[in-house]
């Protein structure tokens, strides 16, 4: 079943098209990767889906219903959560409060405080955040801040979560843990749409990958097909080989 569908999604800033005519869909239970060079419009696409920016034209549909033009809080309450590339935690609030507030404000708002507290504890455990819950969020390590962002996103009770560069800046053992986390999120029945630059991760975790370049979708398919696609190698993967060499 199609969970999320984008039709000719377009966003222009001034005369520049950051995202242009992108058609895409995410099926329920999938893990879909979104890759592309810097400035390709990946985060802009996430911002359009989550309502942070209004679309210039085109539309988005979630579970068959149009969500174009809704505010971010309304989209969250429809069941789409997100994390941020540049971490946006409530850094002076405690780890526990960050997640608790999301439990009380998202799609599950109206649940009892005690249920929300229990859910918070469960989620902190789920993402593998083993620090004291009363620690201010700003004092966590980068890896833990990213875990907390995921926990906060999940706390809103989403059916789809948008993960924006969850693994950027992490060391290789942390990347492995993050990959496990993404798989376990799917096992909870939550669909994942993720932007990632760590190729090892994206190739092994994703069912399907979309490639953006200059705001246009240039390829889409299973990881194996993408890794041998000429166009993708030219604009993205090739560049990386070059840089590594």
């Amino acid at each position: 079943m199609q969970l999320l569908e984008g039709r000719k999604v377009t966003k222009t800033f001034g005369g520049l098209a950051a995202v242009f005519g992108v058609n895409f869909h995410i099926d329920q239970g999938e893990i879909v990767g979104l890759i592309g060079p810097n400035g390709a419009g990946k985060t802009t696409l996430f911002n359009l889906i989550s309502g942070a920016y209004p679309m210039t034209s085109g539309g988005a549909f979630f579970k068959g219903e149009e969500i174009t033009g809704l505010k971010p809080n309304q989209i969250c309450r429809c069941g789409i959560a997100r994390t941020f590339q540049l971490i946006k935690l409530f850094s002076e609030m405690t780890v526990f409060e960050n997640v608790l507030l999301a439990c009380l404000s998202g799609r599950l708002r109206g649940i009892k405080r005690s249920d929300a507290e229990r859910r918070t504890e469960e989620l902190l455990q789920f993402v593998g955040l083993s620090v004291e819950p009363t620690t201010p969020a700003g004092e966590l390590t980068l890896a833990n801040q990213k875990r907390l962002e995921v926990a906060r996103g999940l706390a809103t009770g989403p059916e789809l979560i948008l993960l924006d560069e969850l693994m950027a800046g992490l060391n290789s053992s942390e990347v492995t843990q993050s990959m496990e986390l993404v798989k376990r999120i799917r096992e909870r029945g939550i669909t994942v749409f993720m932007i990632e630059h760590v190729m090892k991760a994206i190739m092994s975790v994703c069912d399907r990958i979309m490639v953006l370049d200059h705001g246009v979708k240039i390829a889409e398919g299973v990881p194996k097909a993408i890794s041998t696609d000429k166009k993708v190698i030219e604009v993205y993967l090739g560049d990386q080989h070059h840089a590594e060499g």
């Binding site: 505010k71 971010p72 809080n73 969250c76 959560a81 409530f90 507030l101 999301a102 799609r107």
Partner: protein, 309 residues
Amino acid sequence: MDRARTLPVYISSYVFSCLVFLLLATIPLYVNPYLVILLTSVFMYIVLTLSWAIFSGPTRYISLASSAFFGVGVYSSAVLGEVLPIPAVIFLGGIVGSLLAFCIGILTLRLRGMYFIIFTFGVSELMRHFLLWWETNMKGTVGRFVVSMEPETVYYFMLVIFAVCLIVAHLLKESRFGLSLRSIGEHEEAALHIGINVTLLKTLTFALSAFFMSAAGAIMATRWTYIDPSIAFNPLFSFMPVLMAIFGGIGRLSGPIVGAAIFAMLEEILITRFPYYYMLIFGVILILVILFLPSGLVGLIKRKSRRSS
């Protein structure tokens, strides 16, 4: 589990607050009239500062519209004082202030940072000049008389407004709305993305905080007997709450209360002892506080107690 441990602390602080209020309620029985009048103006500043902190503390939107709401309360009292009993006047004054804040909120709470500060200050000034223009050109006389009240009566009403304001501020802080307001102050965009209706929450809280400012204005007007736009909408009522809250410390409710109380007393002492230098001394003290006590007086006490424990 955390709550159970802090419960005795809660109860003892409730008992303490009740005792303090009991003491304050009986004060007019055994002190001289001057002190009652002084305490009334101290409580007026506490109400202004505390209600300012209800909104601006957690959200970090620095509002300079306090004098607009205070002045609206003052004028409500002047207009309604002759036809309605004083509790109704205070309540209606508060409602009018809230409605004004609601409208301002819808218009301006999309602005951030400096733009918000300047706009709210502009609103206060606009109110003052508009009323002045109205009275000069439409009514022909500037200023109004207000039905006056006994100093003790004014004191008691101000004390009740303070008590209600404190209870509301406390309940709000402990609720999930208090947490939501803090999240707006820390990262508004993230707050929006976890499902918080940021605009609505900000507007309602702004209106709530204006209620108390206007209520304080409505009762205070009865002590002044004569008011005009420059008295009612004095820009000092916008700046003082900000300074007092910073002086006391914004993070917890005791900060604005302590800050306003000490500041108001200090002002009274300086103005009577050093009428020519009081603003100068005032300014120096303020600069020192901001330089050396960034989290205010209450922050200093907290730091001291942490060090000794």
